[in-house]
Amino acid sequence: MKPFRILLTVGLALGSVGVALAASEPGVLPLPVASVAVSEATDCLTSSHPAWANARPQALHFQAAPPIYSTDAHNSAEVPDATVQVLQLVDGVRVMRLCWGDATEDRADPPSRYADAGESHVYQEHSERIQAFADAACVMVPVKRGSHARYPSLMMGEKTAPMELYYWRAGEGFRLLQSEGRGTVRDAEATLAGRAVREPGGWCVFFVLPPLPEQTPVALALWDGAKEHRDGRKYFSLWYEVE
């Protein structure tokens, strides 16, 4: 028994050192993933699914993008509280549950139609909320999966590191976008599965993501419509790594 105890102690010590080293490795923010015996992603698009009980919520740290114009007020230090949970299904598909605080529900619903808009009306649909912006969230994943020697640019990637953007906007739904740097975002003409739920004081959005190998960098962004957030005017996170 004595040699076994010695081996056990040494193993535990080495394991602790290993964990300590990993935790202290600069720039690595882990994104824990819970493997669950679920095959249908759409089953998990509700907080009441028991699989979520297995997924450890990870608190996310967001930063507010700096002002664009000299006349813009500097952003306050206030950023929304946010947590994320990630499930890995049997086929490798990931379902991410992203929840954050947002006091107001701001939507980009389809424009209005007059109740009696008949064929004779010149205008069938009308612009109404021309100064409103919507709440939104996005998960940015490099097209090149897996570990990176150097993290790509957080500014929508770069030419040598294109990005896939799993984008949700209140009132519009889920879309897949692509980018390779600032000002290059374009629609990938693909709809995505997902679900967004307005909860008291905030949102919970479920993203269905493709299989992501370990150490794939993932970054997240949130837009608050009440603050006229759009484009780079948003809350953004640093790169997290999928465990």
Partner: protein
């Protein structure tokens, strides 16, 4: 840098506020879903709140350090939410309810027509037609992070690429004249395009063509033979609106000074003006007084039997006098290749975090940029597909100039190129 610059002069002494120009533009361009509230051309009574409400107080343009000064976004109520009348219930359904707007109007584009202002004991007003000024230094272009707005190389017309626009509306906040509008249906912004498809075919802007007062002059500012050059550059009797905004507008106004007040026929207008000079200086800058003094002198010369070249020009009897279109000249200046379009296209400088422009860089000539560079920025004038013209041929500028000689191997379309003049079927941009 644009090789030429189309500009417009409006003689405010001749505008009768009939809004025919507004209707011409509305029927030509903004009769699509989402554009009900838009008036790319509008006529407002000045002094007045304008369209959108108090636009001249909102902000926009540049400060003295050339920093953008974005304004708040106007709401639909500031433009005037469109309303409908239910005629059918009274005419055909026998309900006989009064025909009233379906919602109580609180503001409208011409809400304070003829109200004007008071100068001690006398009321005064005049009509101010406004379109996009197609500025030499557009604030909207600088504000757009997507580089969706650019100035056409061949004629300086500022257009908004519907393929690149994502509806961020920085441009609307930046424009000091509030002449860009957001379309909630397409989720993109749009603006006056100076009727460039008409100009390319040798036809003047719709607003100018329909004006019964003959107030509008159109031509190349850099063409000494054009009426616009003669009014603005040679005789210097037309001024831009709010020059201190820093965008250098290319729509100019002959300031209103005529007629004099009743009983003042023998006096100088400047002694007892019908319109306060202070208000005209507020609108057009300090040069307005010398301009009016000069024009008054020309009036006296004409009234005493002499000939005034500038007044003969401003009378604008027919289209040959008022319009100096040069589609062939502009066509030769159009980008002839994708590479040239990308190089010449005016790129928005990247904004630093605090809004000061950094050095510019050339953009890449993607397929979308290429389409925009040859003037196919607006959904309803995708001329190549609408007229059955090959994209490849259209990019060479032949069909755009209306000068196709036929026999183009790309599409084999007939000479003349640009179709019969019918409006192309619109494509909705999603």
């Amino acid at each position: 840098m644009s090789k030429h610059q189309y500009a417009m002069v409006m003689d405010l002494n001749k505008c009768i506020g009939c809004h025919t120009c507004t209707m011409a533009c509305k029927k030509q361009w903004t009769d699509r879903d989402g554009t009900g509230y838009m008036y790319w051309n509008n006529v407002e009574t000045q002094p007045g709140e304008g369209y959108p409400r108090r636009w001249h107080e909102l902000g926009g343009g540049f400060d003295t350090q050339r920093h953008l000064r974005p304004s708040p976004l106007p709401a639909l109520e500031d433009y005037g939410a469109p309303f409908e009348y239910d005629y059918a219930q009274r005419l055909f359904e026998g309900r006989n309810k009064p025909v009233m707007p379906h919602r109580p109007p609180e503001y409208a584009p011409n809400w304070d027509e003829d109200v004007g202002g008071w100068d001690t004991k006398n009321p005064y007003y005049f009509y101010l037609p406004r379109i996009c000024n197609h500025c030499t230094h557009p604030a909207c272009l600088e504000a757009c992070p997507r580089k969706a707005i650019y100035k056409r190389t061949e004629d300086g017309i500022v257009v908004l690429d519907q393929d690149r626009c994502r509806g961020y509306r920085y441009c609307i906040k930046a424009c000091p004249y509030k002449k860009i509008y957001y379309n909630e249906v397409t989720r993109k912004s749009e603006k006056c395009i100076f009727c460039y498809p008409r100009l390319e075919r040798g036809r003047v802007n719709a607003c100018a063509a329909q004006c019964p007062g003959r107030i509008r002059f159109v031509g190349l500012l850099d063409d000494p033979a054009s009426p616009v050059h003669q009014i603005v550059v040679k005789h210097r009797v037309a001024l831009g609106l709010f020059p201190e905004k820093g965008t250098h507008p290319n729509v100019y106004y002959v300031p209103p000074f005529n007629p004099p007040k009743e009983g003042n026929a023998s006096r100088s207008i400047l002694e007892d003006p019908r319109l306060p000079m202070k208000y005209l200086e507020f609108l057009f800058g300090p040069r307005v007084v010398p301009v009016i003094r000069f024009l008054e002198g020309e009036l006296w010369r004409a009234q005493s039997g002499e000939r005034s070249e500038v007044l003969q020009l401003l009378i604008g009897r027919d289209e040959r006098v008022r319009y100096g279109l040069a589609p062939a000249v502009v066509a030769t200046a159009a980008p002839g290749s994708v590479q040239e379009a990308a190089r010449d296209r005016k790129q928005s400088p990247d904004l630093t975090l605090m809004g000061t422009p950094a050095k510019t860089g050339a953009g890449s000539a993607s397929d979308q940029q290429h389409k925009a560079a040859v003037g196919m920025a607006y959904p309803s004038v995708r001329m190549a597909s609408a007229f059955g013209v090959s994209e490849e041929c259209a990019t060479l500028g032949q069909h755009r100039a209306g000068a196709c000689l036929g026999g183009c191997s790309s599409c084999g379309s007939a000479p003349g190129g640009l179709g019969t003049g019918e409006s192309p079927e619109e494509e909705r941009t999603t």
